[in-house]
Symmetry: C2
Subunit: 130 residues, 2 copies
């Protein structure tokens, strides 16, 4: 994997963020520094960095992928009103009933995806005063 300016800037901008941008959001940011970069380059590099384990690709609800420069194992909570995604540190344990259900289905469990859904602080405030 060669070292290119484009990939460098894409990664810098992603890890700088604590939000979880989509490819086009990141594209808009990166273009401020590299105005001639193409959207395809952003997609290609996000893909290759994901495959190399350098970043996370989040397949949350909706049509767009989200990307996360934080490689640690953590969960996310998504605001159903504005789409914002925040980190959550809870590390849920596999309960006995879950293990039994997996075994009952005859599956070999590999992972468990948990996504919390709710209203972010800003949207709670807006919803509060009807």
């Amino acid at each position: 994997m060669r070292k290119t300016r484009q990939r460098e800037v894409i990664r810098e901008e992603l890890t700088k963020l604590d939000s979880h941008p989509s490819a086009d959001e990141l594209y808009r940011l990166v273009r401020k520094r590299l105005p001639r970069i193409s959207l395809g380059t952003v997609y290609r590099n996000l893909d290759v960095m994901f495959r190399e384990g350098m970043i996370q690709r989040l397949d949350v609800g909706g049509s767009q992928m989200r990307f996360d420069g934080d490689r640690s194992d953590h969960q996310h909570i998504r605001c159903v009103r504005c789409g914002r995604i925040d980190d959550m540190e809870a590390l849920p344990e596999l309960t006995k009933s879950e293990r039994d259900a997996v075994k009952g289905a005859g599956y070999r469990l590999l992972a468990r995806r948990i996504e919390f859904l709710g209203l972010c602080p800003a949207c709670v405030k807006k919803a509060g005063r009807h």
Copy 2:
């Protein structure tokens, strides 16, 4: 909401299945009984039935929506190898650490999506003998 033959057959075929078909999979099945039905009709009716709470629409990983005639609240386990989706009865409880993390993020929790990932029995067998 009018009663149409198309909607009737779509619902019948969906509830008949214990799998979790995508729109086009269902389209192929329905076409055996209604050869002139269009894919758009399948999409439209799945959407309207979902909005009316008659069926479930599953936004699992991947690009396609899945549909579920079983309206009960239950979880799913997806085979990462062949894409098969099965039901799971486990009803996971919200742990204290999860509640704390939600509160820490300032969110009002509305729901929690859990998806189990693994290898289905058939794929376990195949993977077992390399």
